[in-house]
C-alpha cells in the first residue's frame, strides 16, 4: 500500500519538474518549484529520512521561494524563448536519460538489506552511538560528532556565501537617494491589511518557539541546527513582510545579524580548539567534561548552537540584501 503512495508521489515529481521547465512565466516557475520541494520532502519522509525531510521543507519550500521572489522583484517576470538550438539539447538530454536508465539496472533494488552501502560503516555507527554518545538520533550523532569536521566546513560555506552576497549586493547603487531611513508610512509592508497582520503577529512567537524546540531536541528526534536556523529565519522574514523592511531592521538590526554569523563559526572553532587545549584532538569532545559521554553531549549541544546561529544570521542577511535594494 505504501508502495502505491510512493509511486504516485514520484510521478507527481516528474510532472511538476516538466511543468517548471515548460512555463515561460517566471513567477509560475518559482511557485511550482516550491511545490516541487514540498513533494520532495514528502518523498524523503516515505524513504525514512526524517531529518532530511524537515530540512528540505523548511529550507527548500520556504527560504528558496522567498529568495527567488526577491530576485524576481528586482529583475524581469517573463522569459523570452530562445530562437534556435533546441533539438540538439533535447536529443542530448534524451540520450543521456536512456544511458542513465540502462545504468540503473545494475543497482540493487530499493530496500535491499544486502546492498553494499549497508555493510561496513553504517552498522558501526548504529552500534556505537548508544555506547559512545548515548543520544537517540543517530543522524545528529554522525553529523555533529563522528563527521564533525565536514559540518565545520559546511558552516564556513554558508558564511562565505553570505559574505559574497553582501559584497555583490551591498555595492552602492548609482542613482539612489540619500540613505536616510524613510519615515514609516502606512503603506510599508502589509500595514494596511488587517487580517494578515493580526494573524502574523499571533503566530511569530510560536514559530520562534518551535524553532528553539527543534534546535534543542535535535538529539532526541528529527531536528538540529540547520532546521532551527531556517525556521527562526522564516519567522523574522514573516515579520519583515508584514511590518515593512525598515521596521524589521529596527527590531533585529544588521549589527545583530552580523554578530550572529560571526559568533557561529567562532563557537564551532572554539569548541574544536578547546578539545586541543584540554588534551585531545581537534573537535574531540570526549575531553570537554568529566566523563567521555557527557563530554560528547556537551560538544554536540554547543556546535549545534553555532550551526543554528550561523544559518539564521546568514539567511536573514541574504534576505535583507535582496529586500532593501531598490529596483532601477
Amino acid at each position: 500500500m505504501v508502495i502505491l503512495f510512493a509511486v504516485f508521489l514520484l510521478t507527481l515529481l516528474v510532472f511538476t519538474a516538466v511543468a517548471i521547465i515548460r512555463t515561460t512565466n517566471l513567477f509560475v516557475a518559482v511557485m511550482l518549484s516550491g511545490i516541487f520541494s514540498l513533494l520532495m520532502a514528502a518523498n524523503f519522509f516515505i524513504l525514512d529520512a526524517a531529518d532530511v525531510a524537515l530540512t528540505e521543507a523548511a529550507v527548500g519550500a520556504g527560504i528558496t521561494t522567498v529568495l527567488f521572489l526577491g530576485a524576481l522583484a528586482l529583475t524581469v517576470e517573463r522569459e523570452q524563448t530562445v530562437p534556435d538550438g533546441r533539438w540538439v539539447s533535447i536529443s542530448v538530454v534524451v540520450l543521456t536519460t536512456l544511458v542513465l536508465i540502462y545504468a540503473t539496472f545494475d543497482k540493487p533494488r530499493l530496500g535491499d538489506p544486502d546492498a553494499p552501502v549497508h555493510q561496513h560503516v553504517a552498522p558501526w555507527y548504529l552500534g556505537q552511538t548508544p555506547e559512545l554518545i548515548d543520544i537517540p538520533n543517530v543522524v545528529t550523532a554522525v553529523l555533529a560528532s563522528f563527521r564533525g569536521y565536514d559540518t565545520l566546513g559546511e558552516v564556513f560555506v554558508v558564511f562565505t556565501a553570505c559574505i559574497g552576497v553582501l559584497f555583490v549586493l551591498g555595492a552602492r547603487q548609482e542613482n539612489s537617494q540619500s540613505l536616510a531611513t524613510p519615515p514609516i508610512s502606512n503603506t510599508h509592508g502589509l500595514r494596511h491589511h488587517l487580517i494578515p497582520r493580526v494573524v502574523g503577529r499571533l503566530l511569530i512567537p510560536f514559530i520562534v518557539l518551535f524553532g528553539l524546540y527543534v534546535q534543542f531536541h535535535g538529539e532526541y528526534g528529527p531536528g538540529g541546527g540547520f532546521q532551527a536556523g531556517a525556521i527562526i529565519a522564516t519567522a523574522m522574514i514573516l515579520s519583515a513582510l508584514l511590518e515593512g523592511e525598515a521596521q524589521a531592521l529596527r527590531a533585529v538590526p544588521r549589527s545583530t545579524l552580523l554578530g550572529l554569523i560571526v559568533v557561529g563559526p567562532l563557537l564551532y572553532g572554539a569548541v574544536g580548539l578547546a578539545g586541543i587545549i584540554l588534551g585531545g584532538n581537534f573537535l574531540d569532545y570526549s575531553v570537554l567534561a568529566q566523563s567521555s559521554v557527557s563530554g560528547q553531549q556537551l560538544g554536540i549541544l554547543l556546535i549545534e548552537a553555532g550551526v543554528g546561529m550561523t544559518v539564521c544570521g546568514a539567511l536573514l542577511l541574504i534576505f535583507h540584501a535582496f529586500a532593501s535594494r531598490e529596483k532601477l
Binding site: L190, H193, I195, P196, V199, G200, L202, L203, F206
Partner: protein, 107 residues
C-alpha cells in the same frame, strides 16, 4: 466493540475528508475565473483539513500524538483562510475585478 466503532468512524471521516479535497481540486480546475477557483481551493484548507485530522486523531487515541495533531489543526485553521484572504486581497488591489452577472433591466 468500542474499537470497531472508533475505526469505522475514523474511516468515514478520512474518506469524507478525501472527497472534499478531491472536490476542491476539481473546482480549482474547472471553475471559470480566479475568484470562484479560489473559493473552491479554500475548501481543502478548512473542511478537508478538519475531517482528515480528526480522523487521524481518532486513530491515535489519547496520547502525545493527538495533542500534537490538535496543535497542527489549530495552526492550519489559522493560516489557511488568512492565506486565501491575502491572495484575494492582492488580486483585488492589483486590478482583477470579479465578474458580476449583468442584471437585465425590466423596463
Amino acid at each position: 466493540m468500542m474499537e470497531i466503532v472508533v475505526d469505522v468512524l475514523s474511516w468515514t471521516l478520512l474518506a469524507t475528508g478525501g472527497a472534499f479535497v478531491f472536490i476542491g481540486g476539481l473546482g480549482a480546475l474547472r471553475l471559470p475565473n480566479f475568484y470562484t477557483r479560489m473559493h473552491a481551493a479554500s475548501l481543502t484548507d478548512t473542511m478537508g483539513t478538519i475531517l482528515i485530522l480528526v480522523g487521524i486523531m481518532l486513530q491515535g487515541g489519547l496520547s502525545l500524538a493527538t495533542v500534537k495533531l490538535v496543535a497542527i489543526l489549530g495552526f492550519l485553521l489559522l493560516t489557511g483562510p488568512t492565506a486565501s484572504y491575502a491572495l484575494a486581497n492582492a488580486a483585488l488591489l492589483s486590478g482583477l475585478k470579479p465578474e458580476v452577472p449583468q442584471l437585465k433591466r425590466r423596463d
